[in-house]
Symmetry: C2
């Protein structure tokens, strides 16, 4: 077992509440799959949501129930589980680098989401052109350099939850931009493929419900 920041207790009942989508919960599912820890993956159907919404801490999902106690906030949940399961690196400095990359991937994702959110078709194409020409290559080239310098990992020299977040998002970018989207970024493509070949994650991907098509405008 490699040395890592890892909590020792582990005998809990976990239940994840989220929609039947990757969205803001998929990295949490990857973390459970990586760790081989059992959890109930409750995928909320639309007609049940208004009722479940009222029972959540802040009217939002994902929510993780740990021994019946509800915890809100996607990345707070993911970070907590990552620390528990030894996925925050080997030092607090590496744990920091994970947090930085996860939030920076969030910035990139927010830029991409602007495309989806714009109702006006002409403005939408302007935003799409800008994001495709500016934000995407800006961030992806920086990430590519980091992963290359770390010999195939986003942080340090072993898998962290940051790698799992990368794999989830790079997969979504390929869904949006096509399978050639990562051709200029071999280290990122390699990272994504490496994560998807981890036995626990591979097995989860084979079993997960068929992905809903990405919303396209």
């Amino acid at each position: 077992m490699r040395r890592s920041l890892r909590m020792t207790d582990d005998n809990h009942q976990y239940k994840l509440l989220y929609f039947d989508l990757p969205g803001k919960a998929e990295h949490i599912r990857y973390i459970f799959a990586y760790a081989g820890v059992e959890y109930e993956d409750e995928r909320i159907q639309k007609d049940k949501w208004p009722e479940i919404k009222k029972s959540t801490p802040y009217g939002k999902v994902p929510v993780l129930e740990i021994d019946g106690q509800q915890v809100a906030q996607s990345n707070a949940i993911a970070r907590y589980l990552a620390r528990k399961f030894g996925l925050v690196g080997q030092t607090e400095w590496e744990a920091l680098q994970c947090d930085v990359l996860v939030d920076t991937l969030g910035d990139l994702q927010a830029a991409v989401m602007q495309i989806m959110k714009e109702p006006d078709p002409i403005k939408r194409e302007e935003i799409r052109a800008r994001v495709t020409k500016e934000e995407l290559p800006f961030y992806l080239s920086k990430f590519e350099k980091i992963v290359q310098e770390n010999g195939g990992f986003s942080v340090g020299s072993d898998i962290t939850w940051s790698d799992l977040v990368f794999a989830v998002l790079l997969d979504q970018f390929e869904s949006m931009y096509g399978k050639t989207a990562l051709n200029g970024y071999p280290s990122l493509k390699g990272l994504k493929d490496k994560v998807h070949n981890i036995p626990g994650i591979k097995s989860y991907l084979e079993k997960r419900p068929p992905k809903s098509p990405m919303p396209r405008h």
Copy 2:
């Protein structure tokens, strides 16, 4: 000294890069002030920003330089320092609760920022009315209950970085909505006042540059 999750090493050179504003760096300044740790508080003047921007990891601030190494992302920086200075609570469960509250305060802040961002004055007033009647009381009443139940702290039974983030944001809400804004929330008001009376923070507030007026539309 209370028991807490705290790193032991501490002999580093810190330099914080941000604008001459509270914005996304004020909670980091509060954490340094609370801990009584020296740092260089570089407040970037507008004409210097284009040059400095290029030198940052992702074209954004705040950036914290730790012994010359640049670290991006406001909350990643704050969380790292909070752990270093014993401000993430006494257990990983409390560290999780800090993360949840900080991100939930971020959600509330994003709702409030929608008001500022809307260029159309009629739509802006609609958003302001909705946020003032719905999001603000929804979140503040939940936070009030938590702080009341914890005997005056947002997490556990002692100061955490979550309390400092609360103090910064509640102060901003009072700037926007007037000094009576927290009248219905005595525990939150008490928390803010308690944080602002911590000697290190009190001393920082007395010395900090006069606050620029909040942008109002």
